[in-house]
Symmetry: C2
Subunit: 352 residues, 2 copies
């Protein structure tokens, strides 16, 4: 039987979970009146601090930094909301910084611990950081990596299987009868997300016995709407335009969608479109967007659980964990046809 939780005590005392956590861990800056109220709630409910709460007494800040490349990319904003909520549930404040993919910032963050803040841990979604950078890292606050870069087990890492996801997205386009499929988001070098998704795209073609037309592999400077629209306009200007496109994220796909409709063409009849990320925008566009939906809730929960495990055992030298989160293909109007009277709907295929 589970006993009362921090959340129960917070509700009873009419304060936030973080304040209860501050009281439990004897954090000094809590008003006496608040402390008394929380203590009364603890007594009434018979709350017993768990091991984690006790470890908090050992000079911890209860603060985790979450560092993402771009806060205004909806995927990161949606994920940040979930990670903040998972942290808060456990009495942890999660503060966000974004690097804009600046390698100097990412390196300093990891290598120098040069922040004037006392973070208990860092959750980082790196863009520019390399495995070599990471292996130079001195001992310090635990770090956990999110996303698609492959770091060969240099730190705990939570991600979905990007190759399998891109394969499934591409296979879906082949299954609905498309044979000239473009990819938008290819990167000439360095960016692992793009490499893994291209690998899945190629694998699906190979399995179906369809050759990949290399001239349909479109690079994108960034993964923003404007890059997707520009790549799509170049594709549409060709005499042999594609009948489908797999975009390496939803922003690219929404830009591509805009470019197709602005030309007076139909989606999916003339060009079918699949994205990646399942951001909310794609559930409200017209047509709605077929996409790979990573299980963001699981990513957030596992990230917080794992970094708190590292924090609570500060002498932990267990091997880094590779944590796989599930994903599914959400099939919507941009590949499933249907007129403008269709309601937004989602078919689901689940993955472990």
């Amino acid at each position: 039987m589970a006993g009362p939780t921090l959340r129960d005590v917070a509700a009873e005392a009419g304060v936030s979970i973080r304040t209860v956590s501050n009281v439990v861990s004897d954090y000094p800056y809590v008003a006496d009146e608040t402390r008394a109220r929380v203590q009364a709630a603890i007594d009434r409910l018979g709350y017993r601090p768990n091991l984690l709460a006790r470890s908090l007494k050992q000079g911890r800040s209860h603060v985790i930094a979450l560092v993402v490349p771009e806060l205004d990319v909806p995927y990161f904003a949606e994920l940040a909301r979930l990670i903040i909520a998972e942290g808060r549930e456990r009495g942890y404040l999660v503060m966000i910084d974004h690097t804009d993919g600046d390698k100097n910032l990412e390196r300093e963050l990891i290598l120098q611990n040069a922040r004037p803040m006392n973070f208990d841990g860092v959750i980082l979604s790196p863009l520019a950081l390399s495995g070599a950078d990471l292996s130079e890292r001195p001992p310090g606050a635990p770090i956990l990596l999110l996303g698609e870069k492959s770091f060969d087990s240099l730190a705990d890492h939570v991600a979905i299987d990007n190759v399998a996801a891109a394969d499934e997205a591409t296979t879906h386009l082949i299954d609905i009868g498309r044979s000239r499929i473009a990819a938008i988001g290819v990167q000439p070098s360095g960016y692992d997300t793009a490499k893994l998704r291209l690998k899945g795209f190629r694998r699906a073609h190979r399995r179906a016995g369809i050759p990949v037309d290399r001239s349909l592999l479109m690079t994108a400077a960034r993964f923003h709407r404007t890059d997707g629209a520009e790549a799509m306009r170049r594709l549409l200007a060709r005499p042999d335009r594609p009948d489908a496109v797999f975009c390496f994220n939803d922003l690219l796909a929404l830009g591509a969608l805009r470019a197709v409709l602005a030309e007076g063409l139909r989606v999916p009849e003339d060009v079918a479109i699949v994205g990646f990320d399942d951001i909310e925008d794609g559930r409200f566009s017209t047509p709605t967007l077929t996409t790979i939906a990573p299980d963001k809730q699981t990513i957030a929960r596992r990230a917080i659980e794992q970094i708190l495990t590292r924090i609570s055992k500060s002498d932990d030298d267990a091997a880094p964990l590779e944590i796989r989160a599930p994903f599914r293909l959400a099939i919507r109007e941009s590949t499933a046809g249907g007129g403008s009277r269709r309601q937004a709907g989602t078919n689901r295929r689940s993955h472990p």
Copy 2:
């Protein structure tokens, strides 16, 4: 003539602006090698720390907290990116938290300084906090408020003129010949943003001599796409549906747009739509979205400038400033007609 800046030194030394700032202010946790490299760059360029940089020596953290209601609302994510960049330019790290509009969290943040972090200042976009809460605030780190709540000059405040903006959006719908104009985003109580925008909506009607049909004032639980879609579906189910709708933010407008198109109706021919915020989504939707575009760059710059002014003069008791940022009406396809072949385009009307 302006001398070399932190940015110039950072470029010369190949480090981030923050690291230069850390060196200049004798922050202890900078690697010796890095410190030497920055010092060499300072010497080469003849950089002289300014007053602000010198004030940083006085035990400051160089960190500002930016607290927004909802990180995954694109307006806040876009604004956060700009505020982070403005802070970074000046050697300040801006960390983000979101409250989800939780009044307990907002109160604790402001009233108790109960954070285990040493922020030099707090920029807060409050949802639930009241003026009464704010007036109880003990002395502490400077605070600056963003957004539309009216606080009667209890703290420095940066915002656009919401009444004028809503008036202009509504007047635009009247100017294109619409007479049954709905509003989506009305709030029964408490939420100042909605009140001010409704006030502008009414003022535009009054000036044009058009009565407001109260049954077209649609409430919305939150300002999300799903709330906009739901309100629009209720409007479309009426025998006397509106010919235009002013949505109190772009997410509501994008949800409303989806609902209209899903019914097989045309935008703007059957229903014209105006939003508020100028988020990127609305520049890539089909049709593109007419909206009120607050000057986010100015909001970000003035917010950082003003809070740094307060931080640098910690005994400052000057009266709180009310800072007005400009806005403009961005006219796009959702009110300007044009078929699917139209390119996304924007007409501008500027405001002081």
